[in-house]
Amino acid sequence: MVENYAVEVKNVSKRFGKVIANDNVNLKVKKGEILSILGENGSGKTTLMNMLSGIYSPDEGEILINGKKVIIRSPKDAFALKIGMIHQHFKLIDIFTATENIILGRPNNRMLNLAKVKNELQELIKKYGFELDLDKKIYDMSVSEKQTVEIIKVLYRGANILILDEPTAVLTPQETEKLFTILRNMKKAGKSIIIITHKLQEVLDLSDRIAVLRKGKYIGTIKTSEANISYLTEMMVGKKINLDIKRAEVKDSKTRLEVNNLTCINNDGRKVVDNVSFTAKGGEILGIAGISGSGMKELLEAIAGLQKIESGKIKYFDEQGNSKDISQIDISFVPEDRLGMGLVADMGITDNIMLRNYSKGRSIFLDRSSPKKIAKKIVDQLKVVTPGIETPIRRLSGGNIQKILVGREILQNPRVLMVAYPVRGLDINSSYTIYNLLNEQKKKGVIVICVIEDLDVLLALSDRVMVLNNGKITGIEDAKTISKEKIGIMMTKNVEGGSYEYKNKWEKKKELYIS
């Protein structure tokens, strides 16, 4: 044996129908190292990792673990080889405690010594520097705590090779830093860690080496010490691109949109938007930050007239300064749930374009000719890749779907444009197309309100950033001067109080069930 790698992937290919997800991919992971797998959406990162964790099996090629050739046919096989994967979407049972979730699916031992298990878990927690209350129920946990449970679960089962699929996508900057500390501790303990991500800065901060995939092909592995952001982007995309987002100055400085003491209550009777007041100017991009479930979705829906408003007012001021009710204003809204709300998955581009305007005119028949022209225009201008404009859009990639949705909404010539997570799941090129479109609207004097997960992008794109936390505004700041870390603190600072309220409600519910 030459050098003993923990994982070796040799010439692995995987196809789904006509799509080649992985084309002759090679990968080596040493013991005690952190390897980042970098690639755009659809580059085959997750497919590759799913083959390591036994969810898919490769069409060609071989996988070696600790120098031995293996065939991993199920997640069970993967566990036996001490490979553990932490998926992007957690697989935990809400009403169980952390401990209960961790011991689930453990190899069958007749006797379960809970006290002993807990002691062992405490040791793990201490060893790597986790922070976790083992008796806390999952439904009381924040996203980062849930992730901790997933990681401990995998470690407790003895995994030596950990695969993390976009672990930081849902974390605040502070939580990300904590996670990285833990991962570094694991590395010191000799574990091999593979982390899938597309956040370049994090890759540079954390990993020892970086493997890059592009469109299913393996591009190469480089040492982090020899890498920089622009070089990595070039590897990922295949060409140089300018990563700067230009921020145009706000021209129209008049206040156009005014939201006063807006409160919305969801079906559970919880205040999802709690006494929110803010203003927005024409030609301004107002960014909204917040951890998921903080009320961003409901706030946007309330402005779009899709959410019932409990109390408060939303007003729009026209050129003459007359206040108008928001329902009379042309609002475009790109919702978070593209296929479930913004578009119809089974319809082609034309029929999806038609969604907005089909009812115009007296005729009982549909006019498909003008939407068809618009569809062609969007396909041309935004470079949508599709077999044809009548192909059901569910067969298109996420980026193309989003281009259609954003394209349609912008062509309505709105006065207010609201976008929720507009670049989620999009490749770099598509993302920049979307940022440019938002900037163009801003220059036209449209009020642009956007919710974006990536705080770096949010700060670069917006003029002002509003932070929502548990339905309340915790700050509206100038995006040019505020730091990412401060935003992170504002996103989480009052959450203790919030979850306490929520917990109380749970306790009450439980009492009801018992009585």
Partner: protein, 365 residues
């Protein structure tokens, strides 16, 4: 532990792969193979049980369905009825409204038709009476479709249970009317209505007894498919069926669409009731719908709402039904024997959908 370290043991294993697309030719080919396999399978059952030559039985089935001119016309008449009921179900299913109440909607349409024939038979010329029949039967079916739709739209009740229960109410109403209109007294049937005057009967067109049935079914079918494909209403149905959230997002009044679509669906099923009563049986009983409201569900779904496919599927089902009556009387088998054959064919046809969606591949290790 089923990890096999690479060594001497090599093993092939098969796995499933989802097809992205399948050519028309291939998918029809798979279905034909399924029918052939179903017939072979039936033969394997027929031989040990009846000791008859299965080929002979199949020939008798064909003979029973299309053996002579009269049989051909009866088969066509029944195909048309089953087909038009499935057409009536399509708008509801496109909206993902699980209407299993066609049976009741047909019966209500049938009762309304019978009432018009009995009470207005002597007062209006036949053409006007038929117009009245079409109006009242579709209104009756419409009411039966709209009631569950209103409850669905406003109280989000389960439409499957609701429409099913409406069937039983319709059966009871028919049973009541049959006793009310009983003729001759004590027979417990209505008998042939207006048998002497033929008032309210579909008149023969081009010398064809069922000519009017054909024309009526054709017109309704074309209108329904134009409605679904080219009108704003049809588009709204597709959006509501695909995602209620999208419908709300673009300001479609979902409640209105649900009620309006079920009104249409119910009206067509009601009209189907008038085609059965006025155009075929000329009587009414609790068996007027005869389970066709349920069989039509199979037709609609198996053909994925494609009108041409719907004709083929309803044709196949009626063909087997007619053939089975023939073999039942000829060989002293009871009718269930042929239901078994139909059942096996349907089973294979539905089963072959799997091979249309997936392909099986052999992997060499």
């Amino acid at each position: 532990m089923n990890i096999r370290i690479n060594g001497k043991r090599k093993k092939n294993y098969i796995y499933l792969k989802k097809r992205d697309q399948i050519s028309m030719k291939k998918s029809i080919g798979i279905r034909i193979i399924a029918i052939i396999m179903a017939l072979i399978f039936c033969a394997l059952i027929i031989i040990p049980i009846t000791h008859l030559n299965p080929l002979q039985i199949y020939l008798e089935i064909i003979n029973g369905a299309i053996g002579n001119k009269r049989r051909i016309w009866v088969t066509i008449k029944d195909i048309l009825i089953l087909f038009i009921i499935s057409v009536g179900l399509v708008p509801a299913y496109k909206m993902k409204f699980w209407n299993i109440g066609a049976e009741g909607q047909i019966l209500m349409g049938g009762v309304a038709t019978a009432a018009a024939m009995i009470y207005y038979g002597d007062y209006f010329p036949n053409w006007l009476l038929l117009v009245i029949i079409f109006i009242v039967s579709s209104i009756a079916g419409m009411i039966w479709g709209v009631i569950p739709a209103i409850f669905k739209a406003y109280f989000n009740t389960n439409e499957t249970l609701f429409t099913l229960m409406m069937n039983y109410i319709a059966i009871q109403i028919v049973a009541f009317c049959v006793i009310f209109w009983e003729k001759p007294k004590g027979s417990n049937t209505v008998g042939i209505i207006n048998s002497a005057t033929k008032q309210g009967w579909f008149p023969p067109i081009f010398n064809l007894t069922y000519g009017m049935n054909i024309i009526l079914v054709l017109i309704i079918t074309i209108l329904v498919f134009i409605y679904l494909k080219y009108t704003k209403h049809g588009y709204e149905i597709a959006v509501v069926g695909s995602s209620i959230n999208t419908a709300k997002y673009i300001n479609i009044n979902v409640k209105k669409v649900i009620i309006r679509t079920m009104a249409l669906s119910g009206a067509i099923c009601g009209l189907a009731g008038s085609i059965i009563v006025s155009g075929a049986s000329h009587t009414i009983s609790t068996a007027t719908a005869g389970g066709r409201g349920f069989t039509a569900i199979i037709v609609a779904w198996m053909s994925k709402f494609h009108p041409v496919a719907m004709i083929f599927v309803s044709g196949l089902l009626i063909f087997m039904e007619k053939g089975s009556i023939q073999i039942a009387s000829l060989y002293g088998l009871n009718e269930n024997a042929s239901d078994i054959i139909t059942g096996i064919i349907i089973f294979f046809l539905i089963g072959c959908e799997f091979f249309i969606n997936y392909e099986i591949k052999l992997k060499k290790d």
